[in-house]
Symmetry: C2
Subunit: 403 residues, 2 copies
């Protein structure tokens, strides 16, 4: 019997450990076909340094994985070159032989799928009986050939809840500020867009800016000024990766005098200075930072289950000697239902799924109903728990008068 | 029958609306003694502008208040001067007469207690039959004569959970960065200190810095360097209000060139630049900002119940013509039990409760067991849900070697 090797790659999500749980589940169900299940510590590093741990065929020992953020085995960025240029193939091959590995499962984003693809070719040329499977994972939701990626749904729920609670705080004052919340998403605005879900509860951001829509400074300032005049405060969600009409990232280079140290400012810092200096509106910046990918306590139930499923499916497909990335196909929204399939690693590896423009409103500062329907299932319906936020303030007779 | 008036003041907490719920509860139980219950919109502004809402004697309509962050009636900072210098007394008196108010309940921090105290004296001199009660509220936990303040416990739970999830993310990489998390607390380090709870799960901050301990730049850099060398990453929690040995706030003035706009940097930004430039360690800053006072989805069960109770007690005391601030007295930790009492408004108004030095460790960069026991009840025991975070990485044979 061959053994299996699992490794985590890239940035953690709230549910990457749920995928590991799913792999263990498949292992436990197939101990007649798989000898041992190994985990590589710190991603590919564990393979290169022969630093593996053995995972026991006892699911009850690993229940916590479903509720734990971070990458429990440790992670590392992983992008292999071509076999002729990259010494690491030799070491990977050596370890695969030493541990009699027949199945390698790489849990990551598109770099990981690229690596899985290259390893499959490498082993095939050597006529080694080893298959390499991809398990998708990214809060950015930017992999093609899958309806969405495990990790995205939980990040959606976290940012939506956070935006709504920030909204309730902001609504507590008549005269407020501009508040900018910066949301992760290096190449695509899926997660920033998802904050629009708060609008279902009258607590969404007033304005949303995505990397898919070239940033127009004048239009941005007009938007902000208009909302601020109307409401006395404005809540803005901006993707960390806004680009201007030349395709350059929008950011500001801070020159910090105390130590003569320079560093690249964030998008939100740029927008803050813009609003502050041009519109003279007091502005606050909130960067959700690691929290949005680490918020396992707010993990989406659908996302967690799918993360488990793709891990389980990956090992099952591998046992059938099939290779590819496990992909999620959505069947229906209400009730939500999905199933799984295999898609070619090579296709996923070299593409980024950006937001279709029909998901963005005509003003380029908010989302369409179609997009809301796409992300709504991930917040687990009423579970979000904030409903009629305006039970008192809707009676405010000065709300309109005191503009 | 006299009527009652309730108003919210200062920064929101996750449970200030729970205190309103408690007030409504007492109202519903005493409709034979109280005519109407009014809420003032946007704190004192609603009184000054005759902008009140009537709250119905039907508790079932307001259940959501227990789960909703923000100040649902709207808030405003409130600090009255002396009656002879401050026109607002006249208007407050006029509104109190117009609505036949016998009981005023002010839900806020020490400025609100000062105001409640002044109003009591003012009404007493006029021989008006009006009592003004204080309902405590602040995430800063800096009011005296109460074991702790409603709002603090929920903020403790939020920051602890956040720090632990950030910790799990950081642990995912062998070679990491310095991560600085800035925690609210304008005059006292209670909340920043509470992040030490994460250590119970092996996920706390490595270093904690509080305003009560004068900031020593050299010692700070030594601490950071030592931990970083040992672990490959370092997690630092810093109070927003760190002060140097001269009692000056520690911060950096950013000079931002793009718009020639200047603004005061945060403590975390200061520490980031310090670590970056002196130790040459890649550094990330996370400001929890409004989230730490708005995280009602992680509200502490004990805190929520106590917030309800102090609201309820306040109206009950008022009906007995007793005045003061409702205070919480802790009876025991395990099981947790507390009861309530009245304390003089004047005493609370003019004092700040900073952290006793016996709660801080000898190195001034962490907390003692005694403090952990003080804050532990607020995280609702095992509810926090992260346990053996090192199930795999504890087997890492390179952990010590690769220093």
């Amino acid at each position: 019997m061959k053994n299996a090797l699992y490794l985590q790659s890239g940035g953690p999500t709230a549910v990457i450990n749920s995928s590991l749980y799913g792999v263990i589940k498949a292992y436990v169900n197939n101990t007649d076909k798989i000898g041992h299940l190994y985990g590589s510590l710190y991603g590919i590093e564990g393979v290169l340094k022969d630093n593996l741990v053995e995972i026991e065929p006892d699911l009850s020992k690993y229940d916590e994985l479903k509720y734990m953020s971070g990458a429990i085995l440790g992670s590392a960025r992983l992008k292999l070159g071509l076999p002729e240029d990259d010494d690491r193939y030799v070491k990977i091959h050596e370890i695969a032989k030493k541990y009699d590995i027949g199945y390698i499962l790489v849990n990551g984003g598109n770099d990981s799928m690229d690596t899985a693809n290259k390893l499959n070719k490498f082993f095939a040329e050597l006529k080694e009986d080893i298959v390499v499977m991809g398990i998708p994972k990214t809060i950015d939701n930017d992999l093609i050939l899958t309806d969405h990626t495990p990790g995205f749904g939980s990040a959606v729920k976290f940012v939506t809840k956070s935006i709504m609670e920030i909204g309730l705080d902001i609504n507590s004052y008549r005269k407020g500020r501009a508040t900018i919340v910066e949301i992760m998403g290096r190449d695509a605005g899926w997660l920033a867009g998802a904050t629009a879900l708060g609008k279902l509860y009258n607590l969404g951001p007033d304005l949303i800016y995505l990397p898919e829509i070239p940033f127009d400074r004048k239009k941005f300032l007009d938007d902000v000024e208009r909302v601020f005049k109307e409401k006395g405060h404005v809540l803005i969600c901006a993707s960390e990766a806004l680009k201007d009409t030349n395709g350059e990232y929008v950011s500001v280079e801070d020159k910090l005098d105390s130590f003569g140290h320079k560093q690249l400012g964030s998008v939100s810092k740029y927008l803050e200075i813009l609003i502050n200096s041009i519109l003279n509106i007091n502005t606050r910046t909130i960067e959700l930072s690691l929290l949005q990918r680490a918020g396992a306590h707010l993990a989406s139930k659908i996302d967690r289950q799918e993360a488990i499923d793709v891990g389980e499916k990956a090992l099952e497909y591998a046992l059938q000697k099939r290779v590819g990335m496990v992909s999620i196909i959505r069947d229906s929204n209400n009730p939500y239902h999905s199933h799984y399939d295999l898609v070619p690693l090579a296709s996923v590896a070299n593409a980024v799924k950006t937001m279709p423009l029909e998901y963005v409103n005509k003003s380029g500062n908010g989302m369409t109903q179609e997009f809301i329907e796409y992300v709504y299932p991930f917040i687990d319906g009423d579970d979000i728990g904030i409903h009629s936020s305006d039970i008192f303030l809707s009676q405010d007779k000065y709300a309109k008068v005191n503009k």
